[in-house]
């Protein structure tokens, strides 16, 4: 660094010329590895300068807390004093033996699969529909995306009012057309609560699926469907044989995002049911938050965090290998 400074001070022009000629010779981009040694030290410092703030933030607020959660999981710790009571894998044993937690895992996976089975066909159908040349298409696209922009909490509070037992709008409407409603309300009946949460989630997140699919459909060349049309294919046939297959990469990516989101589900459940009734809607995230902050069982919360991360990571890696790899290979 000092020698570089000396050179520049003595003859600034020479350094620049040399740098430029070095680039011409090696044909690399600026900052290429082909530069002489003294530039390299300077380049390292520059790289460090650029990435340091981001890496520092990630280290302090992402990496450290994640490792800290992992460490916490091996101790019995109530949050006071030093972490000394090492219990090995006992917290994991307790978490995995806790019906509330295993049920929470099941609930997360119910949401994962229900999202794919319900939101995917529904989102696809709406995207194909909105891709038609109908009046007010732009407005429709805007409207369908509105729930996605609202905070989960705000959407949750409105739905909580809609779903009020007896006095709520939904029950009043259902009763007026003769549909029986559950005694305790939709959110108060253990068998219906998770399904109700899922319906609200679908309302909230369908717009994202539609939007992404619509964007993918923009990439389907008109020529293809026009050719198919000349060959006598119906609208439905061109969608099924041309549009949907070409949309496959977008669909696979949406499935990935949806899975990760479903595993992390917290806000909506916390607002609508708080995990109840009778733990019928707990998720891994609500479990670890209530263990960690309400009961100060930090070790248990740590173990649950690690399990949540491992499940998400395993799913992500498996999906990457089994499904998404096809996309990167094609690209």
């Amino acid at each position: 660094m000092t020698s570089q400074g000396a050179v520049t001070a003595a003859d600034p022009g020479a350094a620049v010329t040399r740098r430029a000629s070095a680039r011409r010779v090696t044909g690399r981009t600026p900052g290429g590895t082909g530069r002489p040694g003294r530039d390299r030290g300077r380049k390292r410092l520059e790289i460090l300068f650029f990435v340091a703030p981001a890496l520092a933030l990630m280290a302090v607020f992402v990496v450290y807390p994640v490792f800290s959660a992992a460490r916490m999981s091996f101790y019995r710790w109530k949050g006071f004093g030093p972490m000394v009571d090492f219990v090995g894998l006992q917290n994991y044993a307790r978490v995995l033996a806790d019906d509330v937690f295993t049920d929470a895992v099941v609930h997360n996976f119910v949401i994962v699969f229900a999202s794919i089975l319900v939101q995917l066909p529904l989102g696809l159908a709406l995207a194909l529909l909105l891709n038609r040349r109908i009046r007010g298409r732009g407005l429709l696209r805007t409207i369908i995306f509105v729930p996605y922009v609202l905070a989960e909490v705000i959407a949750g509070v409105v739905w909580f009012q809609l779903l009020q037992p007896r006095s709520g709008l939904l029950e009043t409407m259902l009763t007026s057309v003769g549909v029986p409603v559950p005694e305790q309300g939709f959110l108060g009946t253990p068998d219906l609560a998770l399904a109700t949460v899922f319906v609200v989630l679908t309302w909230k997140y369908l717009g994202l699926a539609v939007l992404l699919f619509l964007a993918g459909l923009q990439g389907v060349p008109d020529e293809l469907s026009e050719a198919a049309q000349l060959d006598g294919a119906s609208w439905w046939q061109t969608q099924r044989r041309i549009a949907i297959p070409l949309l496959a990469p977008t669909i696979r990516t949406w499935v990935f995002l949806s899975m990760i989101g479903s595993l992390q589900l917290f806000d909506m459940v916390w607002i609508l049911t708080g995990g109840g009734p009778a733990n019928a809607t707990t998720t891994m995230a609500t479990y670890l938050v209530s263990q960690g902050t309400q009961r100060s069982n930090f070790g248990i919360a740590g173990a649950a965090s690690v399990v949540l991360f491992l499940i998400g990571f395993a799913l992500a890696v498996a999906y990457q290998f089994l499904v998404l790899r096809r996309d990167t290979k094609d690209a």
């Binding site: 900052g31 703030p53 933030l57 040349r133 905070a151 909490v153 409105v158 902050t293 949540l308």
Partner: protein, 278 residues
């Protein structure tokens, strides 16, 4: 993109019917909230599905004259602005060498950010709570919530910005380098202004995520420092008997996000698509 007009794939009556149903289901709850705010609790109890009759302004007036509401809105705005500035600045700085320099650890470094996408805040929430409140003494402050949020927004920011920076023409930067400009100067005066559209996109995404965030604020903020989502949630539990008041409060809390969305619709959409492709 100019689409050729064909008679193919136009909507029949059935298509319009489905579209109308979708609009009704999508906007129904939002309209219920907005109209409910114009009714009295007595009206709501008598006929939950009715329209305001007469229109009552008391609920909305109550919200906008409620100092707590403005306090929450101020907190939300401050936290979202700090989060956005920190995430975008640190993100574009990190993305720049990842896009422009050749060095041995470039791809592993990028992978760090990609892997960051897999760590949800929920996993680290309890240690984060301890870190921010005890170790950093930043509990119940704007920075205490904004810094972790920025850190969790960084992976998306870097993953979207890197290809964006790569696509910028190199010629201007090379010319500046020939004129003896330093790398940092080039970044500041050339790369940053050129990447403004990308920065706006990731900025809007970070802002909306912060504005809507609930879990981290729930653990870190109390009392006067609460943000709007916390305020809405608490108001609805504290005033559960006052349905009309809750609906008015919630509806007004929706407005900023909706306006931002309408103004920035293109950016949000292209950002999300970028995130998906990246």
């Amino acid at each position: 993109m100019a689409r050729r007009a064909t008679t193919y794939g136009r909507g029949g009556p059935l298509v319009y019917l489905v579209a109308a149903a979708v609009v009704a289901v999508t906007l129904g709850p939002v309209l219920y909230g907005a109209l409910g705010g114009f009714r009295s609790n007595e009206q709501l109890a008598r006929d939950p599905a009715g329209l305001p009759d007469p229109w009552v302004l008391e609920n909305y007036r109550g919200v906008v004259t409620n100092p707590d509401f403005w306090r929450y809105a101020l907190n939300s705005t401050a936290v979202a602005l700090i989060t956005t500035v920190v995430a975008v600045l640190a993100g574009v700085m990190a993305a720049y060498p990842l896009a422009r320099y050749q060095f041995r650890f470039r791809e592993p470094l990028f992978l760090v950010f990609v892997l960051g996408l897999l760590f949800p805040a929920a996993v680290a929430i309890v240690p984060l709570f301890i870190l921010v409140t005890r170790d950093l003494q930043l509990g119940n402050t704007w920075w205490g919530i904004a810094l972790p949020q920025a850190a969790f927004a960084l992976p998306t920011t870097v993953v979207i910005l890197r290809p964006f920076l790569m696509a910028l023409p190199k010629e201007v930067e090379e010319a500046a380098m020939l004129d003896g400009a330093s790398r940092v100067g080039i970044f500041w005066r050339i790369a940053l202004p050129l990447s403004m559209p990308g920065l706006v996109t990731v900025g809007v995404l970070a802002f909306v995520a912060s504005w809507n965030a609930y879990l981290l604020p729930l653990l870190l903020l109390q009392g006067d420092m609460r943000t709007l989502p916390l305020g809405v949630a608490d108001y609805s539990t504290e005033h559960s008997a006052d349905t009309a008041g809750v609906l008015a409060f919630t509806t007004i809390a929706m407005i900023p996000a909706l306006m931002l969305f309408l103004a920035m619709q293109r950016r949000i959409v292209s950002g999300l698509q970028g995130a998906v492709k990246g």
